[in-house]
Symmetry: C2
Amino acid sequence: MTRPLIISAFVMNTASHILQGLWRQPEGRQIEFNSLDLWVDLAVDLEKHLFDMIFFADVAGLYEEFEGTHRVHIETGLQIPSNDPSVILSALAYNTEHLGLAFTSNILQEHPFNFARKVSTLDHASQGRIAWNIVTNLQRNGARNFGQELTEHDARYAWAHEYVDVAYKLWEGSWDEGAILRDRESGIHADFEKVHAINHKGERYEVEGPHLVAPSPQRTPVLFQAGSSDAGRSFAAAHAEAQFLGAPTPELAASSIGSVRDLLLQNGRRPEDLKFIQGLSFVIGSTEEEAVRKSRELDDAIDHRAMLAHLTGAMGVDPGRHAPDEPLSEWKIEGVQSLLEGIRAATGSREPTIRDLILLTSRSGRVAGTPEQIADELERWQAAGIDGINLINATIPGTYLEFGEHVMPVLRDRGLAKKAYTPGTLRQKIFGRDRLPHTHPAAAYRNAFR
Amino acid sequence: MTRPLIISAFVMNTASHILQGLWRQPEGRQIEFNSLDLWVDLAVDLEKHLFDMIFFADVAGLYEEFEGTHRVHIETGLQIPSNDPSVILSALAYNTEHLGLAFTSNILQEHPFNFARKVSTLDHASQGRIAWNIVTNLQRNGARNFGQELTEHDARYAWAHEYVDVAYKLWEGSWDEGAILRDRESGIHADFEKVHAINHKGERYEVEGPHLVAPSPQRTPVLFQAGSSDAGRSFAAAHAEAQFLGAPTPELAASSIGSVRDLLLQNGRRPEDLKFIQGLSFVIGSTEEEAVRKSRELDDAIDHRAMLAHLTGAMGVDPGRHAPDEPLSEWKIEGVQSLLEGIRAATGSREPTIRDLILLTSRSGRVAGTPEQIADELERWQAAGIDGINLINATIPGTYLEFGEHVMPVLRDRGLAKKAYTPGTLRQKIFGRDRLPHTHPAAAYRNAFR
């Protein structure tokens, strides 16, 4: 039994996001990223094709150096320049009606009082279509842009727990239901008894409140998270409503989903409280041969050096100082061991090298085939427990138009994509309710400050 | 010789901004402030009437208590709820072509690295129409929302000097001219040699850089400032391109302008580097009698208690504990002494009381008359040295439509308002250039990090 997948467009307000080098494609508009037109046009196209969301990645600085410098990052546009995704969302909201507007914000970037206010403003402006991808900072340069050194991994998640806690108090607890009266007759705009300070005092933050913004349609935005470490999975199980996966195969996705779901239940949350969204890219052909040929052309167009700089830079290492044939198992670096698992599945018994890493990274999550074959593959992902996909682009808007025109109709025929938007907020569309369920930790702050 | 005034609409993303109580007016749309439609519709109307800017005020928390509580603030919507103005600007930018988009941001609210990035993103998105009103925090509650106690007045300005310094380095110095190549042929997106870390190390901030956003049309947004204290005037003379005044009379405006202009010259800046913008509200009648009658109706509609709570709350005092007939000179409070000057001008020799303060505050900057009389009055303000006006509203959009339809044509006839928009950025429109002049301190960071 198939059911409609959540279908999201994975983008970034930058020159080169995931498939490095493709900004050079003559038909691509990615390098117009400074212009609102690019993003509004894309959002309108996505809504026409019934995408559920546009999802913006983000960074707080540069990834780790490559060959001892940031030259490759700057020259290839590897997520630099990188514009603030949050401030363009209102233009997208104004020009669409249903599309979910998800953006990444690093807890390093903004004080939670100001962040919560920004999100509530956007949730009002979009009539309840905002989602927040909660990330912690993994960049040394990112930390130094904010006057800090890189926080140790587990401590970053402790920080994130407090950060969301402050935000939950503001979103869920500061204003009771019915606080806004707008009574022109009596002159009472809001009920004083229903607006509360939160008086948060924690390790890192002290926040008096009240929240400056009245409750928005969703109060708390839909919460996304992407970490795959133990601490990341614990965090997702505690807080996220959707987790992004970059699993190499459906089998590995199933295993990851199983372990997070166990943690979810231990947290008193229900299986349906957390969705899993897999990052995938597609090469679509009218025949299998055409798809294979286009996939090879894509291999040739991708900037593999920039791909490697991105991958290893995100792990905090400089691979430029290693030989391509060096076995990856030699790297004594956090993050590499979990990567190896996926790479070994592809290389078989042979010990994976840096060269393997480069090739596999550029092909990771790539599905090449006819629309029917792609639908078959998505059925396999769904059977493995995936609830949706985050669609990585080769070109903007090309990738999304092609998927919308050629693959979406097949998915719809098979019940793998919805036939129309459900009315209401993003959470209503995904979960059938506007607000977080009582099983979510944020719900504890409802009426808590009265 | 008249010249066109800069004409700005002074608004706030809140229930009740300056003329308290008027959200109750049946035709007013202010209480729809959560909706993008209100603001986009207004921006489009303003552009139709050739306004130069829409200008958003902002706060970081509640003003000081009144009668020992925030009840009056919440009940009358006195700048609470208060939504983030910055995140709605892209919707306004998308729907207009010429209107300047000015917003207030408190240095308390955001780290300068993130703030500079947000502004650059918006300046790209609006094709160079962003202005920033630099404010320091004067609210105890605002400070406590960010885990701080209120910073002493002069120390706040020292903080502001460092804050803008960081922002200038990112905006002006981090990316050289010509850094962006976007060369699809060679695959070089940006010239590595032209992108620089800033390595700021100061009292409060350490920021490595580079700036994450490539140079926007204006680089540094047009800089506004509103402080009237000695430290505030010094800051304006050092940094601002436009200063807001709330002078009670043209004569007092002229005196204030003279003293700031002296400081300006001492800073090596030129008279034309700083514009002065006076906050005014208008009651327009087809006859003088009608205007007088409408002005009295306005007196009756205004919530004077909320007006007083706003005024004194902004000074950090609770006037509810003082009797209405108490002489104001008894108040030993920072800010009151400069207010007294204006009030004495109105009350004559009699010692002003709290009651005088209430009445005068609600009428401060109000000009009532026929369009011709209003134009006469604006000529007097211009003769006193005012370069523009920030138009306080009674209702949105009513006030601006009425001014646009009835007063603007008269101003145009007299050369007090422009007849068409000049093409280009906001700075181009106001100063005839896209970038800050070499006399501005930010200019020192050009090519400083090479």
